[in-house]
Subunit: 403 residues, 2 copies
């Protein structure tokens, strides 16, 4: 069989997997109709998927015109995935099922280790232990701060934790485990999580606007992420909002990240001194959470700062809308915890400055994925790979089970 034909078969299997993933239990007829495949083709594709243990038959379900037919389903608990999220100051590791449900989350503060090398060794040990305990793990996804230079394998700017720049992620991790490792820029991983686990309505045209220790963006357009030639596209955090503004470590001036990241907020709190007491003894996350808690309690100065930050978040939204025109923008990570006051302030800017036709047709929401689920994006990277090449992972699952 020619390579292309093999790809075509795997592509069709992937389409069936995606359909079942998005639509739940379905009959062969429903799948065939939706994907425009012939009944004969569907019979062949699903037979192979069943044979590989990727899908299974359920009992009879209600079909079209009240006819009953056998249902097919993906079992979300049959396969597991490890997600690893690297942030400036911590590493989160999660064990997930196919539906993106976290079975367990581990958090490791980088600062607890004498060096990045030690932190990596400790991470490898943890992953090895999880793999040994759960033979159902078939892939690992990793989310790293952008800009992530795919060819070189390292992240280019990590302001508050320079040593991360020396880590070559594929060299460290690609062959370190018995299952494949997929590495992606963190905001793009977040966008994949929204595509897989989020609102059905705008699955194929959305943007995930990550405002954490850094500011990043992942865009899914017509079902695919926008990556760029070297994988560094959609780096909204380093798009300038003021060419004469603050100098950034990336070399540019006035980068959005300098105004509304958790690091920038922490800096503002330290410089002010009066809003959050002892902010200079806190981590970036702690300082932000303290500010947001005060604002939620009605503290006027805290609320004013949150609104001020919201304005900058809004400038970023305007750029996202004009540059990428997604149907839906989801704001996630640390700074999204500021909640409604921040969003309201950002939306005032959008309403003032974006073409009304575009403002009216772009939905902007705060992420409703659970708080500790930034790491969900990392798992989504692995699950996306699984759904794209199901047969490859069926082989891995068999090998892992020792069949």
């Amino acid at each position: 069989m020619a390579a292309e034909q093999l790809n075509q078969s795997e592509c069709n299997r992937s389409r069936v997997m995606r359909f079942l993933y998005n639509n739940g239990v379905s009959s062969r007829a429903q799948i065939a109709k939706s994907l425009g495949l012939t009944p004969a083709a569907i019979t062949k594709i699903t037979a192979k998927l069943i044979d590989e243990g990727l899908i299974s038959e359920t009992g009879e379900i209600e079909g079209a015109r009240n006819r009953r037919s056998i249902g097919l389903r993906l079992d979300p608990e049959r396969f597991h995935f490890i997600g690893v999220k690297f942030a400036r100051s911590l590493i989160q590791v999660g064990l997930f099922d196919l539906a993106g449900n976290a079975q367990r989350i581990w958090v490791d503060m980088t600062a607890d280790h004498p060096s990045i090398g030690d932190a990596i060794t400790s991470l490898k040990t943890l992953i090895g232990q999880i793999m040994a305990r759960f033979s159902t793990v078939v892939a690992i996804g990793m989310a790293v701060p952008g800009p992530y230079l795919r060819d070189c394998g390292h992240t280019a700017v990590v302001s508050s934790m320079q040593q991360w720049r020396d880590v070559n992620f594929p060299a460290e991790f690609a062959d370190a485990f018995a299952v494949p490792v997929f590495i992606e820029q963190d905001a793009r991983a977040g966008a994949l999580a929204q595509q897989l686990f989020g609102d059905d309505g705008a699955r194929d045209d959305l943007a995930y606007y990550l405002i954490g220790e850094g500011v990043g963006l992942g865009v899914v357009e017509r079902g695919r992420t926008i990556d760029g030639a070297r994988g560094t596209a959609t780096e909204i955090g380093h798009v300038s909002i003021d060419v004469n503004g603050r100098r950034c470590d990336c070399g540019n001036y006035g980068c959005l990240e300098r105004y509304c990241s958790a690091v920038a907020i922490h800096k503002a709190l330290d410089e002010d001194g009066g809003i959050v007491a002892d902010s200079d003894t806190m981590t970036h996350i702690e300082a932000c959470e303290a500010l947001f808690a005060l604002a939620a309690d009605g503290d006027a100065r805290a609320l004013e700062l949150v609104r001020h930050i919201g304005t900058y978040v809004g400038y970023g939204l305007i750029t996202i809308i004009n540059a990428f025109n997604p149907r839906r923008i989801i704001i996630g990570d640390i700074v999204s915890h500021a909640g409604e006051p921040l969003l309201a302030s950002a939306m005032r800017v959008v309403d003032d400055r974006v073409l009304p036709e575009l403002a009216a047709t772009t939905s902007v929401t705060l992420s409703d994925l659970p708080t500790d689920a930034a790491v969900t994006g990392a798992a989504a990277v692995a699950i996306t790979a699984f759904l794209e090449q199901p047969s490859r992972f069926a082989d891995i699952a068999r090998r892992r089970r020792g069949d």
Copy 2:
């Protein structure tokens, strides 16, 4: 035959057409190998394409291992396309062959007509005449200033020619002729022209940075344009370079377009008064060309202004690189005629402000398509459609010939 299978067949025919388009005369074996199709499939696909008059057999050509085989070719002169470029102050119409060679260009100054309605009537008459004379015309492409709201069918911001905003392009043109009409934002059309007719090296990851009466951008990523949910993505002209900067008609502040478009340059010349004499009696294009001619002659003040504009062009480049990470950026339209001094000034900004790894791997050039070929982009929109659905246009060609 199921719809999907029909699509699959047309998709394979399209791939063969694209291959011959990009690679010239090729044998069936070469095509099969490159596209990963079986010899049987290629025989079937090419038989249909020959039957439809889309491709033809040449004599024997040199094949692999010195074996001789029959060549296949696309005849670029068998099909013709009309391209229409709408700019703020003029309409250009061109007749093109499949290879993008202009057979003839017509230019119509909007200002010569009492109203936009009259300009449109005149345009329809011209197109009708061209169609009547050339029965080989199978499609019309139109390039309109962005942001172009595809669903509503009108352009949202046309600063110096407000009446254009009231024109509903599909309503006016979609069914006005005996062949299909394809409408696209002008910079995206320019990107398609670069993909079809430009440098082979970066065909599938490039950006066309249009700096004319407006400033626009078209991005081809992994072979496809980035469009956005409503077709208004990649509107670099309305990405702010200074959130506290000049107010723009789009509602935003500090839009790039306000600093380096031909309109902005003309305004600067009028306000200065001393660089280009009587600039206030000139069209935007005339004023810019006069400035660029003075700069080329070594006029110090003209050169200084060109370099100043180049700095802003450079700020736009930084945003393009950080937001889209293309392999290649081509600067085109009126302002690119300023040539090397402008490019050098823009590149100094890029070298100062972009991550070295990215600056080193992004090529930036001035468009080398002929000067009057901004309209080539409009033709590229039609030719892209032709290559995507060859059988559809074979039918149209037959009908037009009266077969």
